[in-house]
Symmetry: C2
Subunit: 217 residues, 2 copies
């Protein structure tokens, strides 16, 4: 599969690297064509890895991964171009996280989500929210945390969610550990969970954790 | 210990009943002195159970449990009376849940929490937020759900949190499964988790679940 991963931060680079390892062709997209971080990433990852602009990464891709921060997601996707997103699965892994006076704050929150904003701005993209409830190291290596801990998917396109669930399987997440929350509106639930995640992260100093949903019977 | 449980809904009645079973003296408080639900509850629970107004329940108590709905919590506590709350541990188990057009909505959210509102309104109460992340049947019988699943506590008074953690132990929650999130501001995190809880509840049709925090190493 050909992936375009938007965002050269740790999330984008790590996800893109894992996808290359899995045998996919990956373009790591950034705002500027000559982004040194993206060029260095591509240089170290072999033939299947490329660096490019957001637009080049999206244009080359069958599946686009939004791995920029929530506050700049719409800007990055606008730079990628609606024409390069239309009809494609768009995996949104970001969170609406900002820091105000050293405190984690979310915007939008509760009455909206980044995922829904993206879907409204790009109505022909097939947006699936997932992976945003764990640190990137856990995203690509779930076994570093013990137990049958869970991921969540939200999206309005059932076939797109199925395809993303298969991708999560490649990353090491068995389908039975992927909880389909429902339509894209349910992305509000996992985006809002971020504050609990962040509080536990801050208190423990470690991001190597996740939650497992335990059920009676 | 003498408990005053405010609220005659399922949460209040079930928590109050469990506290009676554990040997405590409990007054179930409601808005009206002759609330038939409260009177019936007390009639069936033996000598240690009484029904009364919010004020009577709080006045008689060493520890007060706020088990009314988030939207009416401040009203109920005002009726209970600041003079009956001052210096006491106030266990806040409510959530800021409301339904708008059939959808679960939270108010306040993110910039504030019910727990903080209560603390501001009653600065001499020793507010501890807990139990709000599980259904009441799980609150009083955690073993109905398998695994070492967790509860959270938030509060500004360390001694009050310690006392509440001991109470949780009586309910069946070992101290090592109670995660101290920090100050009362962290109640925002568990109140915001409600949307994820509610989404999983709605999808599965069962409230018999909880989350277990799994950590590496």
């Amino acid at each position: 599969m050909r992936y375009g991963v938007l965002g050269t931060g740790e999330v984008g680079r790590t996800l893109a690297g894992k996808l290359v390892e899995l045998g996919h062709e990956v373009t790591l997209g950034s705002r500027a064509k000559d982004n040194p971080v993206a060029l260095e990433w591509a240089a170290g990852k072999g033939d299947r890895a490329r660096a490019g602009t957001f637009a080049e990464a999206a244009a080359a891709a069958e599946v686009v991964v939004n791995a920029v921060g929530g506050p700049v997601a719409l800007d990055a996707l606008s730079a990628a171009g609606a024409e390069h997103l239309d009809g494609k699965v768009l995996v949104d892994v970001c969170n609406p996280l900002a820091f105000v006076d050293g405190e984690a704050r979310l915007d939008p929150v509760e009455s909206d989500s980044v995922a829904e904003r993206i879907q409204r701005a790009f109505p022909h993209a097939r947006v699936v929210k997932t992976l945003n409830t764990v640190n990137v190291q856990v995203m690509v290596d779930p076994d570093r945390v013990p137990g049958a801990h869970n991921l969540f998917v939200s999206g309005d396109d059932a076939a797109a969610k199925e395809q993303v669930t298969a991708l999560l399987g490649e990353l090491g997440w068995p389908a039975e550990r992927v909880v389909d929350l429902g339509g894209l509106r349910t992305a509000r639930a996992t985006e809002m969970y971020l504050l609990l995640w962040f509080t536990m992260y801050r208190n423990s100093g470690s991001a190597d954790f996740n939650i497992e949903v335990r059920r009676a019977g």
